[in-house]
């Protein structure tokens, strides 16, 4: 177990020694269920799949993941424990990865607890379990991308509230990249290729493909790239701002 592993374990354990883990998991499960059954009309559709469950995941993540990631760095800087951590024989990339992986696995646990939905749909009919598995994979990858954005935003500030608001705003932009909200203001001024680039960054488009069972490598690579990019930014921001 290397340094990343030690930090990972401490971080993951920290979720469960405070109410954060329980509050997050309960709210996540309640909202995911409510969205699926009430808004997504799970029963009325009469189809044995988890489409309504996955369709709402981006919107659930939009505010739940910033709520989880806001404390990652802002809290450490505020309390001064960052100085303690980074004066141990720990490099910033190790700290960034350890924290990120712990939060990602934590979301994975929350996601895994939605398995009763999957059991339900298997009890009621004969769903394509490959599609459902792909949906879970896509959801987990997308959560990682949101989380990396949130972690980088948390490194920007000592204030958890500011970290939350900025992360949620940035995550929203990434969700809505392909929609009128983002494209409207830039359509007239920017050249076509740039508009297409912006559109291609849409989390929604990349996720909906996976969620419908079309696991394209490009979608997976997209989310992994977003994670890598924002974790790199996270590392730079911690280095730059740790002393503020």
């Amino acid at each position: 177990m290397g340094t990343i592993g030690v930090i990972f374990r401490r971080e993951l354990a920290a979720y469960f020694t405070t109410p954060v883990a329980y509050v997050f998991i309960v709210i996540f499960l309640v909202l995911a269920g409510a969205m699926t059954f009430y808004v997504g009309n799970f029963f009325e559709r009469g189809q044995a799949d988890l489409q309504p469950f996955f369709d709402f995941q981006p919107w659930l993540y939009l505010f739940l993941i910033p709520a989880l990631s806001m404390r990652l760095w802002a809290e450490e800087r505020k309390s001064g424990s960052l100085e303690m951590l980074l004066t141990l024989p720990v490099t910033v990339p190790q700290a960034v990865l350890g924290k990120f992986l712990a939060a990602w696995v934590f979301i994975g646990i929350a996601l895994a607890l939605t398995v009763p939905l999957w059991l339900t749909v298997n009890y009621l009919g004969h769903p394509d379990n490959g599609v459902i598995l792909a949906g879970y994979l896509g959801s987990f990858l997308m959560a990682g991308a949101f989380l990396a954005i949130g972690a980088a935003c948390s490194a920007l500030t000592k204030s958890q509230v500011i970290a939350f608001v900025i992360s949620a705003a940035v995550c929203f932009v990434f969700i809505a990249m392909g929609s009128r909200i983002v494209l409207g203001p830039i359509e007239a001024t920017l050249p076509g290729w740039l508009i297409q680039t912006v559109t291609s960054l849409s989390f929604l488009d990349h996720f909906s493909g996976i969620a419908r069972g079309q696991v394209a490598l490009s979608d997976a690579i997209f989310f992994v790239s977003v994670m890598a990019l924002f974790l790199f930014a996270n590392t730079l921001l911690v280095e730059l701002k740790k002393a503020d």
């Binding site: 030690v6 930090i7 401490r10 920290a14 424990s81 100085e83 980074l86 004066t87 024989p89």
Partner: protein, 313 residues
């Protein structure tokens, strides 16, 4: 090889120059006390040594490892207590120390032994299972100290290790530092001048980001006008004529009332290195003045500190 080597270390935050070129070396067996007003650059210097801040100029080495280019190796040899002893408030003290031991590369039984040893050294056993946020200030500071001592490092840097502790706890921490002094190079920062006297072998006064004085605590005391001054307290006020006679002694520079309303004490400030006490005692005895107390002052560090730092400001 010196355990700590610093050359022209400087740090600016934008237009503010917090540290402007500090150079010194520290060897095993030395306990260096950083003295200086708030904002003098003490903490900034320590943070650069600990690898938390990157110097704007100059270099620093811990056990031969440059803190910037070889930071990981430098931090392995270093124990650092940041100001305020920050830790993870939700964690139990024992879990926190185990985490630090793991990060430092100790596993299993060895980590357990390291933690047990550090816990014993700072007497933390009673609160090991309590979350750090529920601990008193004294215990929190001890958790921080245990964290810094855990791996028995060659170099210890402690930023205000006794700040906020009660006199018993202060005494305990000082004993702890004194007990380790022979085998390590230690830097502590403090506002408490008696602490320098109690534990340090070397004192450095820093103000405005520069070293103003670097010497032993005794040398610092020798700068005080009260160094070797004789304090005399008599049962009844000393007659003016005898005072004048005292002041006229060639070994006496001048007299100064103690300034306290409730006694007749006077300070006899010495001229040169003469053993003034002997002459004072002799004269008072000759004139039949009843002496209640007579002692030789070592010097007042707080006065020296004020003189040095205010002259620089």
């Amino acid at each position: 090889m010196h355990l700590i080597e610093i050359e022209g270390l400087a740090k600016s935050f934008g237009p503010i120059e917090a540290v402007r070129g500090i150079s010194f070396t520290l060897d095993r067996g030395e306990v260096l006390g950083f003295l200086g007003p708030n904002g003098a650059g003490k903490s900034t210097t320590m943070k650069m040594l600990a690898g938390f801040l990157t110097p704007s100029a100059g270099s620093a080495r811990i056990c031969g490892h440059d803190v910037v280019t070889d930071g990981l190796a430098a931090r392995r040899r270093l124990g650092y207590l940041p100001e305020g002893a920050p830790a993870y408030p939700d964690m139990a003290a024992g879990d926190f120390l185990k985490f630090v031991a793991n990060v430092r590369g100790y596993r299993g039984a060895e980590a357990h032994r390291m933690v047990a040893q550090a816990v014993e050294r700072v007497e933390l056993g009673a609160v090991l299972n309590q979350p750090i946020e529920t601990l008193s200030k004294g215990f929190k500071r001890r958790v921080g100290l245990a964290q810094a001592l855990l791996h028995d490092p060659d170099v210890l840097i402690l930023d205000e290790p006794t700040d906020g502790l009660d006199p018993n706890q202060k005494h305990h921490v000082r004993e702890l530092i004194a007990g380790m002094a022979a085998t390590k190079a230690i830097i502590i920062s403090t506002h408490i001048l008696e602490e320098v006297d109690a534990v340090c072998t070397r004192a450095m006064v820093i103000a405005g980001g520069r070293i103003l004085v670097d010497g032993t605590p005794a040398e610092l005391e020798a700068r005080s006008p009260y160094h070797h001054a004789v304090y005399v307290r008599t049962t009844t006020p000393v007659p003016e004529a005898i005072l004048a006679e005292l002041a006229a002694l060639p070994q006496v520079r001048r007299l100064e009332p103690s300034g306290r309303a409730d006694d007749n004490g006077i300070y006899v400030l010495p001229a040169g290195d003469a053993d003034t006490a002997q002459y004072v005692r002799h004269l008072l005895g000759l004139r039949g003045v009843a002496v209640a107390e007579l002692r030789v002052e070592r010097g007042r560090l707080d006065g020296v500190f004020r003189d040095i730092t205010q002259a620089a400001a």
